[in-house]
């Protein structure tokens, strides 16, 4: 039981950095390509530690993201909770996938997440106008192998369980 809660601060810091990267000002051309950092980090932890990071935490993260981004309260919370649910359902298979296959799956998950957000903003009457809205899915897909390796090494180094 004592062992179960090691490395909680690693989880905290990784999510914190994801939030920082989401808020970090980027040049205009790179803005559309910003990966969905919080969603990606959440996917990793849901896959690696499904008994610790669950739908509840994902939902709270989404709520914070809504406040940070000035979105409708619940918009990202809904998306992230669904992502967490889906990843936890398939986490055993997900771990065994080769990195390329994982990337593709992450790309699809992010597309699904963006789709939910676009539905919500569409209902509000401000649907995304250009195809650049979907760019984060591609950039997240490309960056996933690096994120995976980095977070896996950190998890092993600090023995996060």
């Amino acid at each position: 039981m004592l062992n179960k809660n090691t490395g909680g601060w690693i989880l905290f810091i990784s999510l914190l950095i994801a939030f920082l990267l989401t808020a970090l000002p980027l040049p205009h051309w790179a803005d559309d390509w910003r990966p969905a950092w919080v969603a990606m980090v959440l996917i990793y932890w849901c896959m690696a530690l499904p008994e610790r990071i669950g739908i509840g935490i994902a939902w709270c993260m989404g709520l914070l993201l809504d406040v940070q981004q000035g979105a409708l309260l619940g918009q990202n919370a809904l998306g992230l909770a669904l992502i967490a649910y889906f990843v936890i359902q398939i986490h055993k298979r997900f771990r065994l996938f080769p990195l390329v296959q994982q990337s593709c799956l992450v790309g699809f998950i992010i597309i699904f997440y963006l789709l939910i957000s676009s539905w919500v903003t569409g209902i509000m009457g401000i649907p995304p106008k250009t195809w650049t809205y979907w760019m984060p899915a591609i950039s997240s897909m490309v960056l996933w192998p690096w994120l995976f390796v980095i977070l896996r090494d950190i998890r092993r180094q600090y023995n996060v369980t």
Partner: protein, 288 residues
């Protein structure tokens, strides 16, 4: 099973947040956790600015100083004229029994260089409820109206810019007093005037100022300049595009305005304004 509960919770929250303002308190509390993050994300920009400011050469400073002094001289001479005009205006308005006060309290706020939702036009400023910022407060910069506060936290607030697709501001044409509503388009340099008939008296280059109707924005601040009018004979309305006067993407400092008093109306108007439904109808400054 739990996922269903969370989905329902999200849906309920979104509906309540969109339809009513009950969740502003929750948002305001959560802002306390988010503000440090935004502050840290803003730090690199602050450091770069600080470094570039401290590395300015003496010659550069002297040059800037001279320029500012000249500018100040020109401005203060303009203010002298303005004061006389203001007094005259006040006197004339008193004669007409409709005194209008233009002096407002202002506070300078700095923008935090953080990125928000893509495809929306929102900014974060470093002043919040502690400084007396309130929801719906108008924001201006040196050149014109920028937008209004939509979410207030204890230390920071979120501002909706004029160009956001859900923003609208009541305006009038400075030349002839024609009233309209300027609506954001989602593009960063274009506003549009709604519901102007094809034969309307409007020209390219006309200055558009806030009208003060809806009692959210103070009257008389520049909103933009008409730069394109397309009159299609088959369409019921002319398409009038405005270039915003405010430097919506460049300003680093903005002014928060506390309108001291809305225009005082003659006494026979007041009874009709007491009707709350009428006020709601007038309040077109935020369509959300």
């Amino acid at each position: 099973m739990r996922i269903v509960a969370f989905i329902l919770a999200s849906l309920i929250m979104m509906t309540v947040d969109h339809r009513q303002g009950h969740l502003e308190r929750v948002r305001s509390v959560l802002t306390v956790f988010v503000y440090p993050l935004q502050y840290v994300a803003n730090l690199p920009v602050t450091v770069i600015n600080w470094v570039s400011e401290s590395l300015t050469t003496r010659a550069g400073l002297v040059k800037e100083n001279t320029r500012l002094r000249e500018e100040q001289l020109i401005l203060s001479s303009k203010v002298q004229k303005f004061e006389i005009l203001e007094a005259e205006n006040e006197r004339l308005r008193e004669m007409l029994k409709s005194s209008e006060k233009l002096d407002e309290r202002v506070l300078i706020a700095e923008l935090l260089a953080v990125d928000l939702q893509p495809f929306r036009h929102q900014i974060v400023i470093n002043k919040g409820r502690r400084e007396g910022v309130y929801e719906g407060q108008p924001i201006v910069d040196a050149n014109g109206v920028m937008g209004q506060v939509v979410h207030v936290g204890p230390f920071s607030s979120t501002v909706l810019l004029l160009t956001d697709p859900i923003h609208a501001i009541p305006v009038r044409i400075n030349r002839n007093g024609l009233r309209s509503v300027a609506v954001g388009t989602g593009q960063s340099h274009v506003l549009q005037l709604e519901h102007l008939p094809n034969n309307v008296d409007i020209k390219e280059g006309d200055l558009v100022v806030s009208s003060g109707l809806g009692s959210r924005f103070p009257p008389g601040y520049p909103v933009g300049i008409v730069y394109n009018i397309s009159r299609v004979p088959g369409e019921p309305f002319a398409k009038v595009s405005i270039l915003p006067s405010a430097q919506l993407e460049k300003s680093r400092e903005v002014l928060l305005v506390w309108p001291k008093s809305s225009p005082e109306l003659p006494s026979n108007f007041e009874s009709s304004l007491d009707d709350p439904n009428l006020l709601d109808d007038l309040d077109v400054s935020a369509r959300q």
